[in-house]
């Protein structure tokens, strides 16, 4: 068994939209999600976010249009044969240019979105190429700085969502000593195929921070339940996930059978939580209730026969 290394991660910066992670170089047009400042290709301090790039493009186009309008006004004034027509040309030109400027100002936000959309359509291959370069940069650090490599893959994974990248992240995470205070992610790592690394990671997360176990993680465990059971301590992983699922009534409603299969392995406070929730909904999930009561009675009997006290319940604050 490989020894795990103690590491620290930078907190993951969450953005409302994935594309907000992208930055583009003003000089060479290279896209990246890794650097905030220096372009990894040309080395210049010229990286800007896509919103700024779109704003620059939109402004440039609008300014060209205004310049064209001013030029036409000046030409009209130049060719006017009387002072009156010169004045008329100047007034009409100024009014039309002002109208155009006002329309531009009013639609600036919409124009930014249109520009961003067009920019992505135009630079599709360049963005993909930039992200592949980012993956290569992360792969180059896999041995020397695995924590940094994970952070890099985590950033790339925001935009490139595929199993190899998720698998690599799960594999790296399995080499680290995970702590509760770490900014761990689970949802973005859920893969389409089975990965023992991911299953192991889910099991650890379920013990460290059960709030991270959501529907996708439970469904993953359900889909690959036989494979996980065949893993070393696979049942513990599934029991940890079932224990985390017990925190919400919704999960009990959705996956009663899954939880029932691992009731016998639930820790005391999880079992009590389950029984609490089930007692609030008498008549629902009879099989699950039966199993939970049976396991509780069995443990209670054992405890009495060994003369032990009930452990304190420390998890009352859940919904």
């Amino acid at each position: 068994m490989k020894t795990k290394t103690a590491v620290t991660f930078k907190p993951y910066e969450r953005t409302e939209y994935a594309y907000e992670k992208l930055r583009v170089c003003r000089k060479c047009g290279h896209y990246t999600v890794l650097s905030h400042d220096v372009c990894p290709v040309c080395g210049k301090h010229a990286l800007i976010d896509v919103a700024t790039a779109a704003r620059r493009e939109a402004r440039k186009k609008m300014q060209s249009e205004l310049l064209f309008a001013v030029l036409l006004t000046l030409l009209a004034m130049f060719f006017a044969d009387t002072v009156l027509w010169m004045g008329i040309s100047a007034a009409v030109g100024a009014a039309l240019t002002a109208m155009l400027w006002f329309a531009q100002r009013r639609s600036l936000e919409a124009q930014l979105r249109i520009r961003t959309d067009r920019m992505f359509a135009r630079d599709r291959d360049r963005i993909r190429h930039g992200l592949i370069q980012d993956i290569r940069a992360a792969e180059a650090r896999l041995q020397s700085e695995p924590a940094r490599a994970y952070e890099m893959l985590r950033e790339v994974g925001t935009l490139l969502r595929n199993d190899p990248i998720r698998g690599l992240q799960a594999e790296l995470l399995q080499t680290f000593v995970l702590r509760r205070d770490m900014d761990l992610l689970l949802e973005p790592l859920i893969m389409d195929g089975f990965s023992p690394h991911l299953a192991g990671y889910i099991g650890e997360v379920a013990k460290l921070n059960r709030e991270l176990i959501k529907e996708s993680a439970i469904r993953y465990c359900l889909r690959y339940e036989p494979q996980i059971r065949n893993m070393n301590r696979g049942e513990d992983i599934l029991a940890a996930v079932a224990g985390a699922a017990v925190r919400m009534k919704r999960y009990i409603e959705l996956y009663p059978e899954f939880i029932r299969r691992y009731v016998h392995k639930l820790p005391e406070e999880r079992l009590e939580r389950l029984r609490d929730l089930l007692s609030q909904h008498a008549g629902s999930f009879p099989q699950l209730k039966l199993e939970a009561d049976e396991v509780y009675r069995m443990r209670h009997r054992e405890r009495h026969s060994h003369g032990r006290m009930l452990p304190p319940r420390d998890d009352r604050g859940e919904s």
């Binding site: 939209y17 060719f79 009409v92 249109i114 992505f120």
Partner: protein, 58 residues
């Protein structure tokens, strides 16, 4: 020379006409653009679909 300068006024008309059409069409397009602009969520979904080779919903 006199006849040539008298033609220049037509150029002024022409310039003002072009300016009017240009400003009117562009302003109209700008005013209509908020309805046609994709939302930020749409842009995000489209980019993710493109990068991950998923087909866009029709």
């Amino acid at each position: 020379m006199q006849s040539l300068t008298s033609y220049f006024i037509y150029l002024t008309y022409g310039m003002l006409g072009i300016l009017f059409l240009f400003a009117a069409i562009k302003s109209l397009l700008y005013i209509r653009s908020p309805k046609q602009a994709p939302s930020r969520a749409d842009i995000d979904t489209k980019l993710l679909n493109t990068l991950n080779d998923r087909r866009e919903p029709e």
